[in-house]
């Protein structure tokens, strides 16, 4: 095997050795498979020329911050996509977690009158448990009843939204936006990590990086991670070779749920005001980021680095279009188109692979 690898010529040499027709085809494949990256690169350069402040230090720090804020949810959805599924309840779970984290951290608590501000670890524990519960329901119905991932997560999306609305009616709050969270909590998440130039980098960038490392270790270095890839690429084969498929699927969704919970925990402090619509449509960004980053709907294929690149590229594009004052409503259409095109490219990659 190693011998074969040694003899394998580099990509460039292989390209030279081909006949002109094959070479054209190979170059065409390469261009098409990376079309999304090429287009995004051109767009970024174009926006930079039109608005030079787009790539100034404060703007770049802002893009990195946004990437960090959206990374955990993308990693969670990424795990579900590796199972050849998906999760459209993600955004609502982020919303519920944000409401719960905020509810435990209000200085004048209208949800639970008389409740003192809880320590920050309690809030973290609460969002992890919430996310894991929803994830368990998702995974259970998918693994046991072989229901389509879209149907299961659509149901949980509705259920979670209902819970959010009821939760926001608790006490004397009557559905109002939650704001005025404790200083300790806000500082824990958005406090200054270090400064670049004159721009402060918040602490949640560090937390997001830690989460990415932990997820990388789980995906690549644990039996659970290897089982996840095995189940994703071929469920029957994984079953035959002794992998507990049901347990693996449930655990992947529980892990994803916890990651959504952490996203909500960071978002509540980051945005500093939480309402029933917090987290709306987050899953669409996360799915788009994963598909752009090469986490494939084929199943069993995808890397943590892919999710990071996907989130970063998506934020670059949308912050850039914001700089050009493009109407926000139009951006929804652009997002949808990007998902469709990215899926077509993803499909093409695995259609021609030998």
């Amino acid at each position: 095997m190693t011998k074969l690898k040694d003899k394998k010529p580099s990509k460039l040499e292989a390209l030279k050795a081909m006949s002109p027709k094959d070479r054209n085809r190979a170059i065409g494949d390469m261009l098409m498979n990376n079309a999304m990256f090429i287009i995004i690169a051109i767009a970024v350069v174009g926006i930079w020329i039109a608005e030079p402040t787009f790539l100034s230090i404060p703007s770049i720090v802002n893009i990195i911050n946004l990437t960090a804020a959206k990374l955990p949810i993308a990693l969670g959805v990424g795990g579900c996509i590796i199972l050849a599924g998906t999760d459209i309840s993600a955004g609502r779970v982020v919303g519920l977690s944000a409401c719960i984290a905020a509810g435990l951290q209000l200085t004048t608590n209208k949800l639970f009158p008389g409740l003192a501000v809880m320590p920050v670890p309690v809030a973290i524990l609460a969002v992890l448990v919430t996310g894991a519960c929803v994830g368990f329901v998702n995974g259970f119905f998918m693994a046991k009843f072989k229901l389509h991932p879209f149907i299961v997560t659509l149901s949980t999306q509705l259920i979670v939204y209902g819970i959010i609305l009821i939760y926001m009616q608790l006490g004397t709050n009557s559905g109002q936006t939650l704001s005025g969270m404790s200083e300790a909590y806000r500082n824990f998440v958005t406090g200054k990590l270090f400064t670049v130039g004159n721009t402060a980098v918040p602490r949640y960038v560090l937390y997001s990086a830690i989460i990415a490392v932990v997820v990388w270790v789980i995906w690549n270095k644990t039996t659970f991670g290897k089982n996840m890839y095995a189940v994703g690429s071929n469920e029957d084969a994984a079953n035959v070779s002794g992998v507990n498929v049901v347990k693996t699927i449930i655990m992947v969704f529980m892990l994803a749920g916890m990651l959504y919970g952490l996203t909500g925990f960071m978002d509540a402090a980051r945005i500093a005001s939480v309402n029933a619509n917090t987290g709306l449509n987050y899953e669409s960004d996360a799915i788009a980021a994963c598909v752009i980053g090469g986490i494939s709907f084929v199943g069993g294929i995808g890397k943590v680095s892919g999710a990071i690149i996907g989130v970063l590229l998506l934020q670059l594009i949308f912050v850039g279009l914001n700089y050009l004052s493009v109407d926000q409503n139009l951006l929804y259409i652009v997002k949808g188109m990007i998902i469709l095109v990215a899926c077509s490219i993803d499909m093409r990659k695995y259609l021609v692979r030998k």
């Binding site: 098409m32 079309a35 287009i39 767009a43 050849a84 599924g85 998906t86 109002q176 936006t177 704001s179 994703g232 690429s233 071929n234 494939s296 709907f297 084929v298 199943g299 069993g300 279009l321 914001n322 700089y323 050009l324 004052s325 493009v326 109407d327 926000q328 409503n329 139009l330 951006l331 259409i333 652009v334 188109m337 990007i338 469709l340 095109v341 077509s344 490219i345 499909m347 093409r348 695995y350 259609l351 021609v352 692979r353 030998k354």
Partner: protein
Amino acid sequence: MEENQTPKQDSAEQPQRPFRGLYRHVKVSVKTLDRIIIGGIAATVLLVLFGIANNGYTVTFDSRGGTDVPAQELMYGDLVAEPEPPTREGYVFSGWYSDENCRYPWDMETYQVSQSMTLYAAWEEVP
């Protein structure tokens, strides 16, 4: 140009292994996919160009019972120009807020526009 290919090359275009996952029922040729991808990218680019050509954010003013205040067309990073304060019988105008509950005042001198939005008028009852 490549329509009339020999059968041998045609077979090279067939998938070498069956699709799995969400794509397992997909039957599509590379050529069709290429057209879809290029078409999709072209449509997206056109859409973005359309957006850039019609750029600008609209800031509307909800005077909430007071006299109408005209909307403003602004670009990213612009400041909202202080409009003529609206009037309302029995009330005194007390400023523009970015939320309906009038909790977050909009500071016209420092806050920059980054999206289309509505500013809400706050009123105090004349005692």
